[in-house]
Amino acid sequence: MELQVQLLMNTLQIGSVYVLFALGLTLIFGVMKIVNFAHGTFFTAAALIVSSVMIWGVGTMGLSIWFSYLLAFFLALVVVCLIGFVVYIFGFQYFLKDLNGSFILSIGLLLLLNGTFLILYGGVPRSIPDVIPGNVSFLGASLTLQRLVLMIVASVITLGLYILVHRTKLGLSLRAVAEDQEAAMLQGIPFRRVALYGFLIGATLAACAGALMATVTPVTTVIGDDFLVKAFIIIIIGGLGSVLGAILGGLLIALIESFGGYYFDPSTATLAMFVLVVVLLIVRPQGILGHAEK
């Protein structure tokens, strides 16, 4: 029982970050109809910024860990948003709804940014000090306080996104553009501006995921790439373009990873994910909550 609770806690913790990251990818796909292979670099950039600002803030400036982290988190979001804005204005806006063009662009961007990160940061993984030290026990399972807070923050952001998408006017325009771009334009919705907003929100979600993950795992310059592959699996399982699908898929993948990794081994768990994708693509290619194209 304790063990299962522990594994479940691990599932929720890693799953909540998967969800955040996959949501951004699925949102960008929904609104722009492109697959952003450079999405992981937003995650990486945020994690790297958090680690370097923390080292600078705590080490050089002698700021408190808490304050340094908040500052780092904020800076990470701002910088990633800026990167997102620049790559949108100079790149992606010319490849809206163009799968081939955006594929080439985003792969190029991925290579460029990964190389840049390696030059700037080097290949050595770095860890940041615990922002919130301590442990909590829950039904016999123990969890660091830090991971618990991470989980809560990620859930709050997810909830916030859900409200944004389903309860606000911006959300209405994002959904309308995702469902039928031309019909959305006929309602007076400015498609290009909405696409930019969608892209920036997606990039910000990836940055949130990266900034949160930096607190619990060593940061490398390729940390986001692993998440990207998982995020693809997640949105294929959940259904491309579906918010609830990304949440469901993210938790399911984390569940497989966590329980499969314990009862069998991590590579079997990874194998299971890919098998799941293959089976799903055969029986329900649009994903659990996805909608078949007309």
Binding site: A176, E179, D180, A183, A184, L186
Partner: protein, 240 residues
Amino acid sequence: MNQSNDILSIDDLYVSYGGVPALEGVSLSVKQGQITTIIGANGAGKTTLMKAVAGLLTPAKGKIDFQGDDITGLSPAQTVSKGLTLVPEGRRLFPTMSIRDNLMSGAYIRTDKDAIQKDMETVLDYFPVLKDRLSMPANSLSGGQQQMLAVGRALMASPKLLMLDEPSIGLAPTIVETIGNIIQTISRNGVDILLVEQNAHMALELADQAYVLENGKITLTGKGQELIQNDKVREAYLGL
């Protein structure tokens, strides 16, 4: 031609679609307080004309005036703001979004909350069938109901001119009649109508003024009732 009476006037419009000329010198006008219709066969350029007026396509040449303002080449967001909305061919609803969200998307450009709410009630009075299903997805509706929703969505923009691109396509004759009645009611309530149809019968019955579009050119014009009597129209479009 009495310019002041025209809500929409199109002058010598040329539009290419995918590199192929689709409209070659189309001129027509929609008068205030009237239902104007354009009939034409598949591929005559009807949809191209609608898209060009709505701002989805940019004309190569010619001029479109709406309420005396030149709207040639404006974006759809600008034309909608000026009071011109298009119910596109095939309805083009947001299929998985709720009926309420579909209607609200029509009011996207508006910020007057109270007036939007009032228009929502008006639209639901036009189409009571939508009232009980506001939170259901649009794709749960039948074809006729979807067409009603599409018209309702366009009305939510509070348009001065409503353009409808083949609203009767794929609908049963009784539903077509209902849609026709609704168009008449909307017209009587002060929204001018430009109706584009392959179903010439319904369109000509409703229309004050009618145009026939063939291969990108207006080939015939007259009162709706006159064109119903016209031998060419009867043969080509009414199957008589």
